[in-house]
């Protein structure tokens, strides 16, 4: 199966296509939006609590921030946090899981002890600790992503390790070994390709986790105040009691987009899984 064929089957998968379509749409929104609608999302020069009208297509919030502009910037930054979280988690998880699984022995025990400890610490607590230590005024989106991945990687690392452990006993790996290949070469040539699908699916799922996690941290007020994200929009809505006052335009569109983002990522993940897994098992 070459890359073109792969893409062809992938794009013939309904779930993947729907998910991909939604993400593409949101990406377009987040990049074209600010160009076509150049309004500062933090500017408070507008009348507060304006419902949607010709001037403010999605209205304004209590401080007079333009909701449509907040959303354009919010999607982009939320996606950024998500992708970054996915990347960090995957990278740490793969490195730890691979080393642990291939090398075994003492190193494996130390690494697994570490993952167990990190797994035991409640994520939110860790986040609060780190962010209050650094001070959230100094915090940046990269830090948010890092904090989220710190709580996410142990699960992934353990999954990788257990897959490596079973792959290691496969005949073709033994055959590479007895041809004199060292662990590094085996890891890259024989093991990693087998983890590709699983890693890709996990990556998409961790993007999702990053986006949702950012919302959670934002609602707790633990994310940088000067960067707009979907979580931040909901945070502003929450602290201004928009829910109670029925100012729906300040939270419904952002909330919907957030859910849509989540669902489309899930669709993409299951789509990839559907397309590749039976094939890999059959081979």
């Amino acid at each position: 199966m070459n890359i073109l064929e792969t893409l062809y089957v992938l794009f013939n998968n309904k779930r993947f296509m729907i998910g991909f379509g939604i993400i593409l749409f949101q990406l377009l929104l987040s990049f074209l939006g600010p160009l076509l609608y150049p309004v500062d999302p933090f500017s408070t020069d507008n009348p507060p609590w304006t419902p949607p009208n010709e001037v403010y297509p999605l209205g304004t919030d209590r401080s007079g921030r333009d909701v449509l502009s907040m959303i354009f910037h919010g999607i982009r930054n939320s996606l950024y946090v998500g992708v970054l979280t996915g990347l960090f988690t995957i990278i740490i998880g793969i490195i730890v899981g691979l080393i642990s699984g291939i090398k075994g022995g003492l190193l494996d025990e130390i690494l697994m002890a570490m993952t167990n400890i990190v797994m035991l610490i409640p994520g939110v607590l860790l986040a609060i600790l780190i962010i209050t230590y650094i001070g959230y005024e100094n915090a940046r989106l990269e830090l948010v992503a890092l904090v989220l991945s710190i709580t996410a990687w142990p699960g992934f690392a353990r999954a990788v390790r257990s897959q490596v452990l079973s792959l290691r006993e496969r005949e073709f790996v033994y055959l590479s070994r007895i041809a004199g290949y060292n662990s590094l070469k085996i890891a890259f040539q024989d093991i990693l390709p087998h983890l590709a699908t699983f890693t890709l699916v996990s990556f998409v799922n961790y993007i999702n986790l990053g986006i949702n996690g950012e919302v959670g941290l934002s609602i707790l007020g633990l994310t940088p105040m000067n960067i707009m994200t979907l979580g931040k929009i909901l945070y502003f809505a929450a602290i201004t009691q928009a829910f109670i006052l029925g100012k729906w335009w300040t939270f419904i569109p952002a909330g919907l987009l957030q859910v849509l983002l989540s669902v489309s990522l899930l669709l993409i993940a299951t789509g990839i899984d559907e397309v590749f897994n039976p094939r890999l098992r059959g081979m």
Binding site: R170, F172, V173, L175, I178, A179, P193, H194, M283
Partner: protein, 270 residues
């Protein structure tokens, strides 16, 4: 009398499985065998008797629970250190695994396994010599290079894959070849040619072949010596005629009676 190439002493492997309550399986139980230079020895026995486990320990990829394996005077689990020693060992002791599909990494063309063999014996697979050897090896096992080289494993049949593994062994030409059910997927009409190859390796290269099979007929026809394995133990050993037509052990007798015969018909009663 030719000299001993490899011997095992009190070789034992116990597998531990089960999660809450541990179960111990004695897959190989106190096995002493000696393999001489240039002989085909069959290791025959039913499924689960421990044949593959024994082979994996000899190949030095599965650590024994206890016991020793001595190859040319070296205790392979104690005296081999570092990749250089191991490469030396694997150049001398190689294997054909049981399940032809599992021998191949589905992400690579089948050529890879042959290229690995060339690298192991120090020949650049991309050199003229390497390419020539690769084609030759494929032809030796009765395959056409243009129909098999450059293909992915899932594009070939079990029998074809099995023959490519034999081609790999032919390139490496080890002193000891562990052949685990090497012809199980081949058609009756083509199997003979491949079996001949093992005998040729024995006669021309002085290769020792440990021929692992559950097919008593095959063991009888190809081997110089037979070992019958049962529940991890070698229960019978000797000349094929002796083992098969004058078996000592009850189990061997019983099994031999169940092997279907071509020229004789069984009798059943209601």
């Amino acid at each position: 009398m030719s000299c001993v190439l490899l011997e095992t002493k009190n070789l034992t492997k116990i597998f531990e499985s089960g999660f809450l309550r541990k179960v111990y399986i004695k897959a190989v139980d106190n096995v002493d065998i000696a393999l001489k230079e240039a002989e085909v020895v069959s290791l025959a026995g039913q499924s689960g008797s421990g044949k593959t486990t024994l082979a994996k320990m000899i190949l030095r990829i599965l650590e024994p629970t206890s016991g020793e394996i001595i190859f040319q005077g070296k205790n392979i689990w104690r005296d081999l250190k570092g990749l250089k020693d191991l490469k030396w060992y694997w150049r001398n002791v190689h294997i054909i695994f049981q399940n032809p599909f599992a021998n191949f990494n589905p992400f690579y063309k089948v050529d890879r396994t042959l290229r690995q063999a060339l690298e192991l014996i120090g020949i650049d697979p991309d050199s003229g010599e390497g390419k020539k050897l690769m084609r030759e090896a494929v032809e030796v096992v009765g395959l056409r290079p243009d129909e098999t080289l450059g293909k992915y494993p899932h594009q070939l049949s079990g029998g074809q894959l099995q023959r490519i593994m034999i081609a790999r062994a032919w390139i490496v030409r080890p002193k000891l070849l562990l052949a685990d059910e090497p012809v199980s997927m081949l058609d009756v009409s083509t199997r003979g040619k491949i079996l001949e190859l093992f005998l040729k390796l024995r006669d021309e290269q002085k290769t020792t072949v440990l021929f692992i099979t559950h097919d008593f007929g095959l063991a009888y026809v190809v081997s110089d010596r037979i070992m019958i394995m049962y529940k991890g133990k070698i229960i019978e050993e000797g000349d094929p005629e002796e083992v098969f037509f004058n078996p000592k052990h009850e189990y061997t007798k019983e099994l031999i009676e169940s092997v279907p015969t071509l020229y004789r018909r069984w009798k059943f009663d209601l």
